[in-house]
Amino acid sequence: MALETRSEYKLPLPPMRGPAADFYKFCKAHELRFQRCAECGTWRHIPRDVCAKCGSFKFEWARSSGKGKVFSWTVTAQPFLPQFAPMVPYAPVIIEMDEGVRMLSWLTDVKPEDLQLGMRVAVVFDDVTPEVTLPKFKRAVSQ
């Protein structure tokens, strides 16, 4: 799906602010990490300041297994921004990680028409610019 050349990556990048900057900083090191409450152990994503389960402000960035499954998706045909015109159709896919959290991403090796609920996937890292790495997923045939 990466049609664009890396030197002229034109798609929107995360602004690298607040806790999102921490999330993507780990991605740049090719580590998928999510916040996990240091008191009760509950995983969470998107990042939060407080554990919604127990109220603790303490958390760690815990390493994910990188494994999950397809929860849902859309297949976008209309380029809502001009820089997506060369990409359509593309599929923003919700992945449910084995840790329980869900995140939005792309699958790198699955055609939109082949997507299925529950399809097993594993994280890969796409260094889209020298500064930013986006976590993406490929199909995992087995555990």
Partner: protein, 390 residues
Amino acid sequence: MESLKDKACIVGVGESAFTRGSGKTELQLMLEASANALNDAGLRPHDIDGIVGPPLGASAEHFAANLGIENLRYSAYVQMGGASPVVALQSAAMAVALGVAKHVLVPCGWNGYSVMRVSSGGGGGRDSAPPGPLGGTIGDYYMPYGAIAPVQWYAWIATRHMKLYGTRFETMGAIAVNSRTNAQLNPHALMRGRPLTIDDYFKARWISYPFRLYDCCLETDAAGAVIVTSSERARDLKRTPVYISGVAEGHPYPADDIPARPDPFVIGLTFAAPKAFQMAGITHGDIDFAEIYDCFTYVVMLQIEALGFCKRGEVTDFVTPERIALGGELPLNTHGGLHSEAHVWGINHIVEAVRQLRRECGERQVKDAEVGLVTGWGDFGDGGLAILRR
């Protein structure tokens, strides 16, 4: 316990012209709609002493300055996207029921075609996240993967529903065709004179699966306004009062991220619906018509389940062209909705419900309409429900 049931009435409704290119500011459009609502109510501008301001485009104080309201006693805002106008009714009803204000104006409008066109990224070729409470989630986690527009976010819920429950495109198409059919009977509808068939629906291009072109609402420059007062005061005014019998708001959890929801089909309306029905003291069988926020066809279906008209997963069987048609068991979006009348953030759904209950709808009048409901849906699934009666 104290209840808002029937404590407040809608006594005036109005709209601006519905266009694709207004050449006016949002405030001008909303003032035009407000003037029409005041005229409808038989009130003068400075009779207004409360304003639940719009979620964008102007502040309550802008309205006060233009309308000559020297003593604005109540102002508030509801930031729930397209659910804002319906939920504003709750705020307005509380204000007039407690005597905080006497006549509350609820305006809403935008240049959804000429300025904030969603189909081209929200206007101006924007490539950063929108302002507002959801901008963080969108900019940080959705936009890098090209999930920029509401049609894409709601599609995640729709896709899963279709795969789990066998929800059919035919049902989505039936909702689109129904709206367009009703619009043919509405002189204000932008799509009057442009009928739609189910074949047209299926032949149209994809926008974002599972949504095709006619699953999507219009993009319109338009505004609407309603005026709320106490039920005592309403009896002195010239129009048939329309009572706010039940009203409630609800928020999905978490409201600022769709993927994280434990259950993606639990939306704001899931929480609001039982409260509003209980307040009104009615059952689903008492509802004579439903004006359901229709940004996208499936979003109507999701709300029909959340309202409790059918069980989860059954909406595709519940919604038949016959049931939702004028003259059917549950006439739906009798004005044509956001899909075929105009996209006015759902305040046009409130306006239509009031006109139906006042029996002013001519060819599209629901016979003997006594009770109707209006929903709002906004942002990532915020919801509101108003049950109105004459």
